[in-house]
């Protein structure tokens, strides 16, 4: 009688343990369902910070970093985020490479039609310089 009762308790514990493990996996799995990133960010925000601080005038290096990260994003099949092309345009403009700046602005507008009005504004104001 007692042996049979012991075997029952052992089974209880195993089933409860399996239940507890399933609970942990379910909770972690549920919490881990993070939506995947929409964009390939690379160092974009860092580059923006660098530019805002105005302490680094090596625009060519900043362009290089952004272009490198753009390649990585492309390889990962991720689109570039809002403002990425525009940041490149800004840096090219600083280097006097107006053709490159222009095509980057157009790329920003093509990817994000919301930027059309602003791109027009920038181009009309830089043309007058």
């Amino acid at each position: 009688m007692s042996a049979g009762a012991n075997r029952g308790r052992g089974k209880d514990r195993r089933v409860a343990a399996i239940g507890a493990c399933a609970l942990i996996v379910a909770v972690l799995g549920g919490c881990a369902q993070q939506p995947r990133s929409l964009y390939g960010w690379g160092s974009y925000q860092d580059q923006v910070y660098t530019y805002l601080k105005g302490e680094d005038s090596d625009y060519a290096r900043q362009i290089e970093a952004l272009q490198r990260d753009a390649e990585k994003a492309k390889a990962a099949n991720l689109p570039l985020p809002p403002g990425y092309h525009a940041q490149l345009a800004l840096l090219y403009d600083k280097l006097g490479q107006t053709d490159n700046a222009h095509s980057e602005l157009l790329a920003e507008q093509a990817a994000y039609p919301e930027a059309t009005s602003f791109v027009t504004f920038i181009q009309s104001h830089s043309a007058s310089k």
Binding site: R14, A22, V27, P82, Q87, A115
Partner: protein, 229 residues
């Protein structure tokens, strides 16, 4: 005996489902009135230079450079921060307070944005107590429709380096050692800027309780919010 164990496992599994659905699901508090927000759902957001209400002169740039990510990932077009900065500066608007004071109609005319986000940074940097130092970034934000000037949403968030620390172990000596380590860590590198990324995420990532709604570019746009109305 087997039945008893099965019942317990089933109870545990049911608890698990409740935790998954309740704890990790998007929550929209019925108390927050999103009526104006939905009536003027923006596609694009112009983030103005954050007003710095802290002693750290790096707060504006530190915060401003961290807001694009959560907003864009939430499904909004975010105007290029560095270009916005240049446009303001080239037009004599050199301080965030000045930018924040520009009439909405003018902002709409120049940028063509649907909405503007006004941010105030109220804490940015390290503070020191007797036994510890912490890096904290706190900010508040208001989303305003540029067509009508209507306030669509406001929110706030904070993040601190003290959050994951357990100072109760090791007694006073342990606390002093932790404080020294933190003081060194907090003064090397730009921890406030890093912390601003956490604050920005907490404040601006859509889907949080009373948080921003998902924007049109998000796969989660208008998902899960119908029930809250």
């Amino acid at each position: 005996m087997i039945k008893h164990g099965f019942r317990r496992a089933a109870a545990v599994a049911a608890l698990g489902f409740a935790l998954v659905l309740g704890g990790c699901a998007v929550q929209h508090s019925d108390a927050y009135d999103y009526a104006a927000y939905r009536a003027h759902q923006p596609t694009s957001i112009l983030v103005l230079p954050p007003v710095n209400q802290t002693p750290d002169i790096g707060a504006t740039n530190g915060m401003w450079s961290q807001v694009t990510l959560p907003l864009a990932e939430s499904g909004y077009y975010v105007f290029p921060v560095a270009l916005v900065d240049d446009v303001f500066k080239q037009n004599g608007v050199t301080e965030p307070e000045q930018a924040n004071a520009i009439p909405v109609a003018k902002l709409k005319e120049i940028f063509g944005a649907d909405a503007a986000l006004y941010i105030d940074v109220t804490k940015y940097g390290a503070t020191y107590t007797v036994v510890n130092s912490e890096v904290r970034v706190t900010a508040t934000a208001k989303l305003v429709d540029l067509g009508t000037g209507t306030l669509l949403w406001q929110g706030t968030a904070t993040a601190s380096s003290a959050e994951n620390q357990n100072n109760s172990s090791g007694g006073l000596v342990g606390m002093l050692v932790t404080a020294l380590v933190n003081q060194i860590a907090n003064s090397v590198g730009d921890r406030s800027h890093e912390m601003a990324a956490v604050t920005s995420q907490r404040m601006l990532a859509a889907g949080r309780p009373n948080g921003l709604l998902f924007g049109p570019r998000s796969p989660r746009y208008q998902s899960g919010t119908a029930a809250a109305q």
